[in-house]
C-alpha cells in the first residue's frame, strides 16, 4: 500500500475498492489548500479567545478595584467585561460558521468527491 502510486499500477488485479494512498492524497493541492485554510483560521482565533479569557480571569482574580469601577448606573467594569465574554463567544461562533460555509465546506466536498471517484475507479 505504501509503495503504490495513485492510479493503475496494479490495475490487472481488478479489486472492487482498494485503500487509497493517503500520503499521496495529502500532496493534492486542493487538500493542502483546505488544510491551510482550516489551520490558519482556527489556530489564531483559538489563541486569541483563550488569551482574552485568561486576561479576564486574571482581572477578576487580582484587580478587584478595577472590576468594581462603575461604568453606568450600578453596572461596573466587571459586568461589562463579563458580558463582553458572551459577546465575543457569540461573535466568534458566527464568524467561524460563515468562514467554514464559504471557505472550507466547498473544498471538503470537492476532496470527498475526488476520493470517492478514485476509490471506485481502482
Amino acid at each position: 500500500m505504501l509503495e503504490e502510486t495513485v492510479m493503475g499500477k496494479n490495475a490487472h488485479e481488478i479489486p472492487t475498492t482498494r485503500p487509497l494512498d493517503y500520503q499521496e492524497v495529502e500532496k493534492d493541492p486542493t487538500f493542502r489548500e483546505l488544510k491551510k485554510r482550516h489551520r490558519s483560521f482556527v489556530f489564531p482565533l483559538a489563541i486569541a479567545f483563550l488569551a482574552w479569557y485568561i486576561a479576564y480571569v486574571f482581572l477578576a482574580a487580582y484587580a478587584h478595584e478595577f472590576m468594581a469601577r462603575p461604568v453606568f448606573g450600578a453596572i461596573n467594569m466587571g459586568i461589562v467585561l463579563g458580558l463582553g465574554q458572551f459577546v465575543t463567544t457569540f461573535a466568534i461562533t458566527t464568524w467561524y460558521v460563515s468562514y467554514a460555509n464559504r471557505k472550507l465546506d466547498p473544498l471538503a466536498a470537492k476532496m470527498r468527491a475526488k476520493l470517492e471517484a478514485e476509490e471506485s475507479a481502482r
Binding site: 482550516h38 479567545f49 479569557y53 478587584h64 472590576m67 463579563g82 467561524y96
Partner: protein, 538 residues
C-alpha cells in the same frame, strides 16, 4: 435579623407543596418514558444504541447537548452562588460558555469525521489500539464516575429542599427511584431515548428560566442597572456583590486553576464528545455546537438575572439559611414569583435535569466499557455488534446500580468538588491527547498513554492532598485529619500543563515511530469527512 430570616425560611418550607412537586415530576417521567419507548422501537445495531442511528439533526443535537451540559449544579448552583456571593458565581457561567469555542474550533468536526462511537475511537485511530483504548476508556470512566456521583448526591440534596423529605431513608429512596428511572431510559431508549429526554429537559429548563428572567426584569423596569442596585441594597455586603472577590478573593490562584479546568475541560468531557456521533455529518456536528453555544449562552445570561433577582427578592440570608443552602435560591425565587405552581414546575425541571444528565453519563460510560474495553481490548475487535450491545446494556445496569449505591453512600457528604474534579480530569487527561492526535503528526502511543495516565493521576492525587479532602472544617474528612499539603482546591493549574508536557515528552522520547500512512489517512479523513459521510448527492 437572623431570627426573622429563619422564620421566613420556615414559612417558605411550609408553603412548599411536595405533593404538587412530585405530581409534576411524575407527569414528566410518564411523558418522557412514552416518547423514549416510541422513539427507540428499532434499536438494533451498535450505531442505533450508541449513536441514535446518527439520525439527529444539528438543531436537535445542539438542544440535546444543552440538556446534557446544563446540570443541576449549573442551574441551582450558579443562581445560588450569584445570589449569595454575587459576581464570583457569574465567573462559572463565563468559563462554562467560553469553553465551547474549543469544541467548536478545534474538536467537534474533526472528531465526528474520525470516530464512530467513543472518544477512544479517535485517539486510537493511528496509535496502538490496546494501550491507547484502555487508557482512554479509563479516563472516560473516571470522568463519568465523578460526574455521576456528584449528580446523584445532588438528587439527594434536592429531595430535602423540594419534597420536604428530611430523613435519610426517604432521601435514599428518592435516589433509588431516580437511578431506576434513569436505567430504564437508557436500557429501553439507548442513545435515541437519552437524546429525547435531554431535548425535552433542555426546552423545559431554558423555557422556565426565560419566564422567570423576564418576570424579574419586568419587576425592575427592564433595567439591568436597577436590578443590580436592588440586589446590592438587599445584601449586607452592599456594592461588593457586584464585583469579584467575595468567594475567591482569599485565594485567587485557586480561582485561576478552576477557570483553566472549566475552559479546557468541556471539549474533553466524554459525554459531550459522544454526542457528536449522533449526527450524520461534520457540518451537522458544527451546527450542533452552534445551537449549543446559543442555548447555553442565553441560559447563562438568564442565570445572571436570576441570581441577582433571587438576591434582591428573596435575600441572601434567607437563602443561605434555608434547607439546601445556596441551592435553594432558584426554587425560592420561583416561589416568590409564581407561587407553589411555578415552584413545582422548577422543582420538576431540576429533577428532570439530574435524570437527563445521569442518563447521558451512563450511556457514555457503558459505550466506553462495551466498545473500547470489551469489544476492542478483550475481544481484539472480533466481537459482533449484537454481543457488544448486549454487554453495553448489562453495563448500563451495573453503572446504574453503582450510581445508586454511591448516591446513597455520599448523602450528607460535601462532595461539590467532584464536578470541578471531572472538568480537571477532562482537561488534563483527555484534551491534550485529543489535540495532539488531531493536529500533531509525530504524536506517539507513548505520548498518549503518558499524557492520559499522568493527567488523570496527577489530578486525583492533588485533590486527595488538597483541603477538599482533609485539614479544613469543610473537608470531606473534617479538620481532624490533615494531610493537605497541596494548598489549592482545584488541581488544573498543575495537572493540565503536566498532561500536555507528558504528551510531548512521551512522544519525543519514543523509540518507535507510528505508521505515517495511517497518520496521513487520519488527517485526510478528519478534514474532508471521507469515509464518514456521503461524498456528493448522487
Amino acid at each position: 435579623m437572623i431570627a426573622t430570616a429563619l422564620r421566613i425560611a420556615e414559612t417558605t418550607v411550609v408553603e412548599n407543596n411536595p405533593v404538587l412537586n412530585i405530581s409534576i415530576f411524575i407527569v414528566f417521567v410518564g411523558i418522557t418514558m412514552v416518547i423514549v419507548i416510541r422513539a427507540s422501537r428499532n434499536n438494533k445495531t451498535a450505531a442505533d444504541f450508541y449513536a441514535g442511528g446518527r439520525s439527529f439533526t444539528g438543531s436537535q443535537n445542539g438542544t440535546a447537548i444543552a440538556g446534557d451540559y446544563l446540570s443541576a449544579a449549573s442551574f441551582l448552583g450558579i443562581v445560588g452562588a450569584i445570589a449569595v456571593n454575587g459576581y464570583d458565581g457569574f465567573l462559572y457561567s463565563i468559563g462554562f460558555l467560553v469553553a465551547w469555542l474549543v469544541a467548536l474550533l478545534l474538536v467537534a468536526e474533526l472528531m465526528r469525521n474520525t470516530g464512530k462511537f467513543t472518544m477512544a475511537d479517535v485517539l486510537s485511530f493511528r496509535l496502538k489500539q490496546g494501550p491507547v483504548r484502555m487508557a482512554a476508556a479509563i479516563t472516560t470512566l473516571a470522568v463519568c464516575f465523578f460526574y455521576l456521583l456528584a449528580q446523584m448526591a445532588g438528587a439527594g440534596g434536592l429531595v430535602s429542599l423540594l419534597l420536604g423529605i428530611n430523613d435519610k431513608l426517604g432521601q435514599s429512596l428518592v435516589v433509588v427511584v431516580v437511578g431506576v428511572v434513569m436505567i430504564m431510559y437508557v436500557l429501553f431508549g439507548g442513545m435515541k431515548g437519552t437524546t429525547w429526554v435531554q431535548i425535552i429537559k433542555a426546552i423545559l429548563l431554558i423555557g422556565g428560566a426565560a419566564v422567570m428572567t423576564i418576570w424579574v426584569l419586568a419587576l425592575n423596569g427592564f433595567n439591568l442597572s436597577t436590578l443590580l442596585q436592588n440586589a446590592a441594597d438587599a445584601s449586607d455586603k452592599g456594592m461588593a456583590v457586584l464585583a469579584p472577590g467575595l468567594q475567591y478573593g482569599s485565594n485567587p490562584l485557586d480561582f485561576i486553576s478552576l477557570a483553566l479546568a472549566l475552559v479546557l475541560g468541556t471539549a474533553g468531557l466524554p459525554h459531550v464528545l459522544m454526542r457528536f456521533y449522533t449526527v450524520p455529518t461534520a457540518k451537522e456536528a458544527r451546527r450542533s455546537v452552534v445551537w449549543a453555544i446559543w442555548l447555553i449562552g442565553t441560559f447563562y445570561l438568564f442565570t445572571l438575572v436570576l441570581g441577582y433577582g433571587a438576591g434582591f427578592m428573596v435575600g441572601p440570608e434567607i437563602i443561605a439559611n434555608s434547607p439546601g443552602g445556596v441551592n435553594s435560591a432558584a426554587p425560592l425565587l420561583a416561589l416568590q414569583l409564581g407561587g407553589p405552581l411555578l415552584l413545582g414546575f422548577i422543582s420538576a425541571v431540576a429533577f428532570a435535569t439530574i435524570l437527563a444528565v445521569v442518563a447521558g453519563l451512563t450511556i457514555t460510560a457503558a459505550a466506553s466499557f462495551a466498545h473500547d474495553i470489551y469489544a476492542n481490548v478483550i475481544k481484539k475487535g472480533a466481537a459482533d455488534s449484537s454481543s457488544e450491545v448486549k454487554v453495553a446494556r448489562r453495563t448500563v445496569v451495573v453503572i446504574g446500580v453503582l450510581a445508586i449505591v454511591g448516591g446513597v453512600g455520599v448523602q450528607g457528604q460535601n462532595i461539590a468538588f467532584l464536578v470541578a474534579l471531572a472538568f480537571a480530569v477532562a482537561a488534563s487527561a483527555n484534551l491534550p491527547t485529543i489535540l495532539f492526535s488531531l493536529f500533531w503528526k509525530k504524536f506517539t502511543t507513548r505520548g498518549a498513554v503518558w499524557s492520559m495516565y499522568g493527567g488523570l493521576g496527577s489530578a486525583i492525587i492533588l485533590i486527595a492532598l488538597s483541603p477538599v479532602v482533609s485539614g479544613d472544617v469543610t473537608s470531606m474528612l473534617g479538620d481532624g485529619v490533615d494531610f493537605a499539603i497541596f494548598p489549592l482546591k482545584n488541581p488544573g493549574i498543575i495537572s493540565i500543563p503536566l498532561g500536555f508536557f507528558l504528551g510531548w515528552l512521551g512522544t519525543v522520547t519514543s523509540t518507535t515511530q507510528e505508521d505515517p500512512a495511517v497518520a496521513a489517512e487520519m488527517e485526510v479523513r478528519s478534514l474532508t469527512g471521507h469515509g464518514a459521510e456521503k461524498a456528493v448527492e448522487h
